[in-house]
């Protein structure tokens, strides 16, 4: 990502002292006959520090995930974290809401929730259940895959793909089955 031209772009954004330094370099190639007009500048330690900070901000940073080809390996890993956080946020949200419900006088107990859920249309019920069972299934199956890896097995690329496809298949089947129960 760090082409000659992008280095050029960064130079233009550098603080003044850098540009002065640049012109200094250029001035060294002038004919000897002309007098050198550039002057040096003294900096306090704080000033030098701030230049360093500004310079560091110009360093190249890692590219965005979007430039990588989607592959089962890293997409599956990202999905593991995303599904896990969906489930955990859900669990935290539920129990935290249950803890504070009496303070606000919310009717938040299993009977009320089940009653509210039973009033929904069948398709909505399935949709909500599937929205829970899909991340649950994926995170569970992939969690088992992770535990398998932790024992040192199935770590070569062929097995990683094989187990990855197995997890995807099991996820779809079990998510649908659990949502239909």
């Amino acid at each position: 990502m760090f082409t000659r031209s992008s280095a050029h772009l960064k130079l233009s954004a550098l603080p003044k002292p850098f540009l002065i330094a640049r012109s200094l370099v250029a001035s060294q190639f002038r004919p000897i006959a002309t007098s050198i007009s550039a002057s040096t500048q003294n900096f306090s330690p704080d000033g030098a520090h701030s230049i360093l900070v500004a310079q560091r901000k110009q360093r190249p940073i890692s590219p965005h995930l979007g430039i990588y080809q989607p592959q089962l390996t890293w997409c599956g890993s990202a999905a593991n974290r995303i599904t896990g956080s969906i489930l955990s946020v859900g669990a935290y949200g539920f129990f935290a809401a249950y803890a504070v419900a009496p303070v606000f006088g919310w009717p938040f107990d299993s009977v009320t929730i089940a009653a509210a859920f039973s009033g929904l249309p069948a398709a909505t019920k399935f949709g909500i259940k599937f929205a829970v069972t899909l991340p649950f299934s994926y995170h569970s199956w992939n969690g088992i895959r992770h535990l398998l890896w932790d024992t040192g097995k199935a770590l070569d690329i062929k097995d990683v793909y094989r187990t990855g496809y197995v997890v995807l298949g099991l996820t779809v089947v079990s998510a649908i089955c659990l949502a239909m129960v």
């Binding site: 990502m1 082409t3 000659r4 031209s5 992008s6 050029h8 772009l9 233009s12 954004a13 520090h49 360093l52 900070v53 560091r56 901000k57 360093r59 940073i61 590219p63 965005h64 979007g66 974290r81 896990g84 956080s85 489930l87 955990s88 669990a91 935290y92 539920f94 129990f95 935290a96 809401a97 249950y98 803890a99 504070v100 107990d109 299993s110 009977v111 929730i113 089940a114 009653a115 859920f117 039973s118 259940k129 569970s140 969690g143 088992i144 992770h146 535990l147 932790d150 129960v181």
Partner: protein, 194 residues
């Protein structure tokens, strides 16, 4: 999609479109400062040059600035070595083993109540506590990954304490739910059969 969260992406995307249309480019970065305005014209020139160079050079696309670099904290001198933490099994292998233990325990704890068809309040409470610990560890590793201590020390500390507070509240909620309501397994059954 990412441009929803990152205005710099939107700007670069707009720049790319404008370049294709052959129109002059105006950068509309949200972080435009007075100095930035002054050198906008120069930047435009640079971007155009860069795009031209990119086609000729190694890259097929213009460079995209994603996230601005965070605050640069330099402690001591520039060449100070990174502090190596003391080896501590509690932060290393024990912690790792504990994480696996929690994960492994979740498998029978999740399956057993539904397979057996009966609900034991103690098993249910252990399941709830294990879920909370597993989630806490998960949130913790996300904070560690996405809020580097080196760069955002205050935010990191705040996030960790916020997580601790949330976990405490959740544990109170879990205790209340287990004592006053029917427990996780039975509650799930109720909703599922409703």
């Amino acid at each position: 999609m990412a441009s929803l969260f990152r205005p710099s992406l939107r700007t670069s995307a707009a720049t790319a479109v404008m370049l294709r249309l052959g129109r002059p480019v105006t950068t509309t970065s949200s972080a435009t400062t007075a100095a930035g305005v002054r050198c906008t014209a120069m930047k435009n020139l640079e971007i155009l040059r860069q795009a031209g160079m990119a086609k000729k050079g190694f890259h097929a696309s213009a460079s995209r600035k994603i996230l601005p670099a965070g605050p640069q904290v330099i402690q001591g001198t520039v060449n100070e070595a990174v502090e190596v933490p003391d080896p501590n099994a509690a932060h290393g292998s024990y912690h790792w083993s504990f994480e696996r233990l929690i994960s492994v325990a979740l498998i029978p704890l999740t399956v057993a109540p539904f397979a057996a068809g009966s609900i034991n309040p103690v098993t249910d409470a252990i399941l709830g506590a294990t879920i909370v610990i597993h989630s806490h560890i998960g949130f913790e590793s996300m904070i560690v990954d996405y809020i580097p201590h080196r760069r955002y020390p205050a935010l990191r500390k705040g996030a960790m304490w916020a997580l601790k507070g949330a976990t405490m509240l959740v544990l109170v909620g879990l205790y209340e739910f287990e004592t006053n309501d029917v427990g996780i397994t039975e509650a799930v059954k109720r909703v599922w059969k409703a």
